[in-house]
Symmetry: C2
Subunit: 205 residues, 2 copies
């Protein structure tokens, strides 16, 4: 099997999202040019990405939406449902618990953890809120794969340590601070401030 680059996988996830949408609209065929118009990714890039997963297109016709979607999902998702644990049930954490798209996709929030005792024991959108101390036990029981840090930056490292200890293999970190984790754990940082400033600095001046 080919070695498929991280960027290709990331774009494949965009193609899958787009195809899901097209299929819902009863669209049966789509060309790389169509996908380029929708996604903003060049048609050449799209064809090259797709060719990593086999020859599923037909010249003059394009791709069958359902077939392409199935092929892409077969490679990148493999029917997996990703189990995710959430740390921090403040405004952002609550927004994640209420995020409607997770239900349609291959993502399941299996547990939430919080320091504030008044929130512990409650259920939000079907997800139970536990004390942070119980995280290792609960995470093993629920087979969580990934974790989300939605606590203040002042506690993000502390929470990251617990996540690593609990055996999580990937972390989405919303706290505006770098965290240190072993190489075996991968981290994706999303700092709202930096995202906005990056847009501003890179394009407006």
């Amino acid at each position: 099997m080919k070695n498929i680059s991280r960027k290709t996988v990331d774009r494949a996830l965009i193609y899958i999202r787009t195809l899901d949408h097209l299929i819902k609209e009863k669209r049966y065929l789509v060309s790389s040019k169509d996908l380029a118009l929708i996604t903003g990714i060049s048609d050449v890039q799209i064809r090259k990405d797709i060719s990593n997963f086999g020859k599923v297109g037909r010249p003059r016709i394009g791709y069958k939406t359902a077939e392409l979607n199935k092929t892409l999902k077969g490679f990148v998702l493999q029917e997996n449902v990703v189990h995710v644990a959430l740390f921090g049930v403040g405004h952002l954490g609550t927004a994640m618990l209420s995020y409607p798209a997770f239900n349609e996709d291959n993502i399941k929030l299996v547990a939430a953890f919080e320091k504030d005792k008044s929130k512990i024991g409650k259920k939000i959108n079907g997800v139970k809120v536990y004390s942070v101390e119980t995280a290792p036990k609960i995470i093993k029981r629920t087979h969580a794969d990934l974790g989300i840090i939605a606590v203040p930056a002042s506690h993000s490292q502390e929470v990251a340590d617990i996540m690593v200890l609990s055996g999580l293999k990937g972390i989405v970190n919303f706290a505006p601070a770098s965290i240190s984790v072993p190489k075996s754990v991968s981290v994706k940082d999303i700092d709202f401030t930096i995202e906005l400033l990056s847009l501003f600095c890179n394009n407006l001046q």
Copy 2:
């Protein structure tokens, strides 16, 4: 002046965030190796990035935190305060309005827009909620530079069109759908589902 790449600018924002933190801790000196340990970016990369902005380090010593911070900010932020308009005051939008880091940084949420009439006219965390129809007028009056899409995917294109019409030059799009905008407007997509699946696909299998 040198042509500084987008990736360098993005990393510079991480250095600035880190330096802000170190300065708050009364740390006066930092080496590229120290910064590498904290941020996870290689020390060579850090030195090369910084060298874009001049020779501010001293061999054997490292960088003065305050001086380096000032230099970096001078290049990438230039004392600007970025004015941001928010579209959608649901769970995620409310989380953005309550996001504490914006106040410390160079970001000011100047207005929020919402369809739901029961929310219009209220003030959340000092930010007034307006009807979406009034966006062009309010955005011009408040001199907003960037916008945030925090509405459901079903309405994201509609909202994006209004943002473009209102003169916003950059958009952070949290809706899980691609939006089409003129080339002059830059877009940063943040799809929580894709972020999680990307972590999972790229590292766990």
